[in-house]
Amino acid sequence: MDFDYLKQKRILLVDDEQELLDMVSSIFTNEGFCNVKTAKTVKEALCIAETFQPELAILDVMLPDGNGFDLMKQLKNKSDYPVLFLTARGEDEDKFRGFGLGADDYIVKPFLPKELIYRVNAILRRSYKGENPIVKLSGSEIDFDRAEVIKNGEHIALTAKEHDILAALYRNAGRIVTLDALCEAAWGDNPYGYENSLMAHIRRIREKIEVNPSQPVSLITIKGLGYKLIVGDK
């Protein structure tokens, strides 16, 4: 997967401590992000936003001349782009408030650079979708845009539910996705009692993507827990 186009995105960092700004900037620079600007106050942030036109903002909650929640509202009024909070306030109430106002993520200090980069990448990927690549599996390929599987040169259509389930698995490729998360991806918020339907869908997906559906190699069952999608053709 190539996400280099995301590294060009303009990122605005707002925090009242210069040293923290320096450190976070250096993390981004190390990772290859080249369009990062910083601000120490609400005023400065709004001023920079005018000209810089950020595509992602990372905000502290407590700022010398205001708070991050209000700043987010003002920034989003101008143009809607993802906002991530990076703050020392770990209270649940603050988190809920942040998400309620439309924050895309919330990282509590202290944090590992890896965690920050991982989350920023995830947000950018979600917000600025490039062409959905064609995913290669061991015995087939999935074209998510056209909702079809290509196996032995044959194009097999995916149903909406199969597409949702596969997409959820692909977002976490190589990792286990719980039964509950898959049910939620396919059936929405109250996904109780769909376990058997899920099994039926998984069976049909396997018939489409696996060379030998009774001995799956791409869509693996983790007994009792969930499923895992193995990407790449080995």
Partner: protein, 462 residues
Amino acid sequence: MKSVPKLIKRFVGILMLSSLLILVINFAVLAIITATQAPNGSPWTTAEQAAESMEKSEQGYKMSDEMIEELNAQNVWAVYIDNATGECVWHSDNLPDTVPLEYTASDIANTTRGYIDGYPTFTGEGEDGLIILGYPRDSYWKHMWPSWDYQFIANLPKTILIVLALNVLIIFLIYMAANTKLLKSVKPITDGIQALHTGQPVVLKEKGVLSEIAANINQTSEVLQSQNYQLKKKETARANWIAGVSHDIRTPLSMVMGYASQLESNKQLPEEERQKAAVIVKQSQRMKNLINDLNLASKLEYNMQPTHIAQVNLISVVRQVVVDFINLDISGKYPIEWLTDSNLNTVIINADKDLIKRAVSNLIQNSINHNENGCTIYVAVKEEHGKVCKIVVSDNGVGATDEQIDKLNNSPHYMVCDENTSEQRHGLGLLIVKQIAAAHKGTVEIRHSEYGGLEVEICLPV
């Protein structure tokens, strides 16, 4: 409020018993008095005897000397009337002048029933005449018309019983009326006393017979309230202090972690230096966890952690935690086995999802922390009789001794212990698990695992 009906029952019992006792005593006393009266009474018998003692001779009638003596002793006069003529044929020497010496049938009837010139008279039947004894004026009272309705006498036992029952009822009603008022004034007081321990402020009206007690209860409530307030204030201050410290540490720690992490991955540095940076990263992460734990533990301890209780499927919550750990464990040193019954897909409980996740994570993390050489971790969710559900986390690692397990189960953590704390220095992980279980009205049990290591069971009500 079980005590008031009990009180009423007892009061009424005592009342009934005492009324019954008084009745019995009264009857007994009456019986005794009547019995002692009987020997010196019975003028009718005396009249009979006097009539029998009359003797007829040629000189006329005569009474025996003993009889005369007896009558004189009681200051009684006597007249003997002939059956045929109605005239007096003999009389005692002390006969007053006002007593007539001739009697008609109606005179005799009157005399028998009542008095002659105020003297109570008693008659006795002689051989051919009638003797009339006249007792002193203030010695007897006579009932002049001694006759009753037959039905009245026949119904007398029933009537007496009814009257008695009515008496009892009247006493009971009077008593109830009097006591209801008292109980009414007692009720707010008992309510107030019972409300005291709940910690609610108690304000009673200081009126009526028990106003003094009400005032005392009000004062007690005020004292309790102010003590609670002070205690709460102190606890809040302590929790806020911990929250403040942990907040202030986060930003500096971010920088330590951030730069150390960069140094760790800087390929230009020698391996040895990068190892040192890795240690800094690892240790600052430990500090981070410690801060988070300390903050959460203090908030749970002082009930300042807002809980977001909602219906959750316990299985999916625990399953998510397990999958997160499996996804993170790249080295495969800590495989996790999911032992939940595959037929059990939903266990719905009212719980705070994030807190439950935290508790299960802490248990799995504990197994990882205490088994540096790796171990298999077994996680299961069980439901028993639809009443309780259990989350069991066990491992096949190093485990603990009986003594340690006993300590983990029973001794208080230093955070919540008011004694000397120099000896206890285990982490906060298990304390938080216990606090979270307690916040959900559940329990935690630590024991040996059947797989060789340690096993922790969280038991929650469904």
